[in-house]
């Protein structure tokens, strides 16, 4: 009986549906690709012993998306959307690469200098500058939305387009390869056998959770997303609430940018974080947060991101070529939309309710 009520609670929670989707994909993997869950320990010359396997890859490669999804959740919960996160990723990546560049002043950047595996900027400063750049981008979006009153989609579209240009300006139009081993740690390193990026995601998730659930920010964000006018009339500065959500989203994008550039050893204004905004929106929607704003769950969004990456890794491991991935993703999107439609929800609820009541009468 107790289990039933636990199950009921779980089913009502926002995490339930994305979790179901994830489990379905995992079951599919277990049947089709028996080796999917195989985990092993490998000795890495640079990072020592660590775990490897498809699941580790899902978490490691999915980390940037999970981070972006966390930020995006707050923005969408206020009733907005941030289309610029992909560009923000590119900007923070470019920022990191440029600061690492050991060429001094007007010194010509030569291959010899670039490959020196050294930098003139201390690593913490590089990281801080990247994070600051992303946060400033987020603030810019937030100001446009909350103070100037531009519709979120239009306001963030500006940076979505301009951001990649800015990233290229920072790197002087080049794709910058990074040769600085300590920087690679974020995307490739391991702590206790697990990828560093997992710890970063866990840290940011914890931070975000503390921010929204242990302060009143979460309540304010939901309130703004449901009814901004009533919220304002209640004495809440709804503009600052929005500003904070966008700034935090930029911050999350910046961390994602650092991990991504560290992972691929380069900063490419045109391609870093390409289409991440769309994946992040999908992750949030999959997590059950309405695009119109209101109630949200950070965990559900993170699971949504996991679903997307598990799906991606699955598709690859089935031998589907990379250029067919987008088509496969389209199928996923379609399935999600169908699953989340009112119609199928009602159907599912009826199914569960009936079974639940039968169970109750049986007892």
């Amino acid at each position: 009986m107790k289990q039933t009520s636990f199950f009921k609670k779980l089913r009502r929670s926002q995490i339930f549906w994305p979790l179901v989707a994830w489990v379905l994909i995992l079951i599919f993997d277990a049947i089709v690709e028996p080796g999917f869950f195989r985990l092993g320990i490998i000795e890495d010359p640079a990072y020592g012993k660590h775990l490897y396997g498809n699941l580790v890859d899902v978490f490691n490669n999915g980390a940037p998306l999970m981070l972006v999804a966390i930020g995006m959740t707050l923005v969408i919960a206020t009733g907005g959307v941030d289309l610029s996160v992909g560009a923000v990723i590119a900007i923070s990546a470019a920022m990191g690469a440029v600061l690492i560049n050991p060429a001094l002043g007007n010194e010509l950047i030569t291959n010899e200098i670039l490959t020196r595996n050294a930098t003139n900027t201390p690593l913490p400063l590089i990281v801080l500058a990247g994070l600051a750049a992303g946060t400033v981008c987020g603030l810019w979006n937030g100001l446009l939305v909350s103070r100037v009153g531009i519709q979120p989609m239009v306001a963030t579209l500006i940076l979505m387009v301009a951001g990649r240009g800015i990233a290229q300006l920072i790197t002087n139009g080049q794709i910058m390869t990074i040769y600085y081993t300590p920087y690679f740690w974020f995307g490739n390193g391991y702590i206790l056998g697990l990828p560093v990026s997992i710890y970063i995601v866990a840290g940011v998730l914890l931070l975000a959770w503390l921010l929204v659930r242990k302060t009143a920010i979460g309540l304010f964000i939901e309130s703004v997303g449901i009814n901004a006018k009533s919220t304002y009339y209640s004495g809440i500065n709804e503009k600052n609430v929005k500003l904070l959500a966008y700034a935090f989203c930029g911050f999350c994008g910046a961390i994602a940018g650092l991990i991504l550039s560290s992972y691929v050893h380069s900063a490419d204004g045109n391609n870093n974080g390409l289409n991440y905004e769309l994946d992040a929106i999908l992750a949030v929607v999959m997590g059950g947060t309405l695009m119109t704003g209101g109630r949200f769950s950070l965990f559900a969004s993170v699971i949504g991101a996991l679903v997307i990456w598990t799906f991606t890794v699955t598709v690859y491991s089935l031998g589907v070529p990379a250029n067919a991935l987008l088509a496969a993703k389209a199928v996923l999107v379609l399935l999600v939309i169908l699953l989340y439609s009112d119609y199928s929800r009602r159907l599912m609820n009826r199914l569960f309710e009936r079974r639940g009541s039968q169970h109750d009468t049986a007892n």
Binding site: L219, I226, S234, G235, I236
Partner: protein, 504 residues
């Protein structure tokens, strides 16, 4: 027997929602060419009955007969096809498209597959002329007042020419006297065209003014259907409340007249406070232990005045002094910190946050004052919510219920609770009893007077003069965005009406 005179006959209608039985074996008949008032407190089941009749909800059991034929109303659209038109309580129109489009939506005349605009505007104009109101049908609906929007909604409902049944759900709650009378003229005309009209209202005056029969619901059950001429007003109220009237009489209040305003502590002083295009400069004093009633027709500037004092808009002239300090920053948050609270007129758009729980709605303003860092602990939140649910008698299954599931009167109480939790010195209530049933209405009135006794300064804005006079120590009258008069509390309705109408 020849053709049945009952156009609608609803038998044994039962409808339950999770946790509540909204209707239980309710019977309702509507004759051809009658105006039938449907009355009851909030939560009595009026809205649900209408929803069942219009196909929004399907009854659990029971039958609906339309002109003697058993029908199953599958959807709102189906009900329109059957000849049942509805105007709902809240204006459900699109403010960003033209009046004509709103009226004709879904039935636009077409030419070559696209909308025939001149014809559409012409038809809309003809339709709206039926109500004899002055409206340019090509203008966006949002350019007009709520009252006009309401009239457009009614026009839209009338537009279905084959309508046999017209349902008016609180149509007059945002209309002034003149507009109400206009509507009544139209209703009488339609009645003579042998259309059956279901009229839902909280204004008992209007029930007796226009209704032929009255059906009373209480707690989802039918109390009875009566000829309006054979049921006294006192009996009606008693049937609606299901209790004796002593409680109602008991609130004839001993006003604090012993205390002159000069002895009372002044909390707020506005001098020439105004905003171009919104409110002509007004002088206003608010005192502790005092209720200032504000009377005025729709659009007289009463809501704008409340908005300026509460800081929703910043004034461009005059000064506002709160407890000796001149106000320079205008915003709800600043007002909250100064101890000024406002329960806004438009409960749905400016008051409740529908998808938050009762608890969250109640603590919202208090939390806003504490700031986002000092988050009230779950225990504190529950304590506060439970205290006000009990204090104000908010009817809700639990504090975790979403506010949008509550009835109008209870939503109003939740907003009141939100502000009382911040312990304000000045409480401005803009139409706190609109769309609220008789029971909750007297409770709110009583509460306002009690709060004033406890030392608060209340501003009570209402369209109902009777309650303004009953509750207030002083009454300010606004007309055409100007304050035109202020009276002591024992002023009579007539004087107020004259001041409001401008025939001193």
């Amino acid at each position: 027997m020849n053709e049945p005179i009952d156009v609608v006959r609803m038998l044994d209608i039962t409808k339950s929602f999770p946790g509540v039985v909204a209707l239980e074996d309710v019977e309702f008949t509507l004759r051809k060419g009658e105006i039938h008032a449907l009355v009851g407190e909030n939560g009595a089941g009026k809205s649900t009955l209408i929803k069942v009749l219009t196909g929004v909800e399907q009854p659990d059991h029971g039958t609906i007969q339309l002109e003697g034929q058993v029908v199953q109303v599958r959807s709102p659209q189906h009900s329109q096809e059957l000849g049942i038109s509805t105007v709902y309580q809240e204006v459900n129109l699109c403010t960003n498209i033209s009046v004509a489009e709103n009226i004709m939506l879904g039935r636009e005349p077409r030419r070559f597959g696209s909308i025939h605009w001149p014809k559409m505007n012409e038809q809309a104009r003809n339709a709206i002329n039926r109500l004899s109101i002055d409206v340019d049908v090509t203008q966006p609906l949002g350019n007009y007042s709520v009252a006009i929007q309401q009239m457009v909604a009614i026009t839209r409902a009338l537009e279905i020419l084959s309508a046999k049944v017209l349902i008016l759900d609180e149509p007059t709650s945002s209309l002034d006297i003149h507009e109400t009378n206009l509507l009544f003229d139209v209703m009488r005309k339609l009645k003579n065209e042998s259309i059956g009209i279901i009229f839902i209202t909280h204004f008992l005056d209007q029930v007796y003014q226009i209704a032929d029969r009255i059906t009373v619901l209480r707690n989802g059950k039918l109390v009875g259907t009566y000829e309006a001429s054979s049921l006294s007003r006192v009996e009606l109220v008693a049937k609606m409340l299901g209790r004796s009237l002593t409680e109602l009489d008991a609130i004839a209040r001993v006003k604090s007249h012993e205390k002159d305003t000069e002895e009372k502590q002044q909390l707020v002083e506005a001098k020439g406070l105004g905003l171009a295009g919104s409110l002509e400069p007004v002088d206003l004093e608010l005192y502790a232990n005092d209720v200032l009633g504000v009377a005025g027709l729709l659009g007289s500037g009463r809501t704008e005045m409340a908005g300026l004092v509460f800081g929703i808009d910043a004034p461009d002239s005059g000064s506002l002094v709160v407890e000796g300090e001149k106000v320079s920053k205008f915003s709800p948050l600043e007002s909250l910190k100064r101890g000024i609270a406002l329960c806004p007129e438009d409960r749905k758009a400016e008051g409740i946050v529908g998808d938050l729980t009762v608890r969250e709605n109640i603590i919202l303003a208090l939390q806003a004052r504490y700031g986002w860092l000092k988050f009230l602990s779950p225990q504190r939140q529950n304590e506060i919510a439970d205290r006000y649910i009990e204090l104000l008698g908010i009817v809700t299954p639990s504090a975790e219920q979403l506010v949008r599931n509550l009835s109008g009167g209870n939503q109003q109480k939740v907003i009141l609770a939100r502000w009382l939790a911040t312990n304000p010195k000045v409480l401005i209530l803009d139409e706190p009893t609109r769309g609220v049933d008789v029971g909750a209405k007297t409770e709110i009135q009583k509460l306002v007077m009690e709060l004033a006794e406890e030392g608060k300064s209340c501003v009570f804005i209402s369209s109902e003069l009777e309650e303004v006079v009953r509750v207030s120590d002083r009454v300010a009258v606004l007309r055409d965005r100007k304050k035109v008069a202020e009276y002591a509390g024992d002023v009579d309705d007539k004087t107020l009406i004259q001041a409001m109408a401008g025939e001193a």
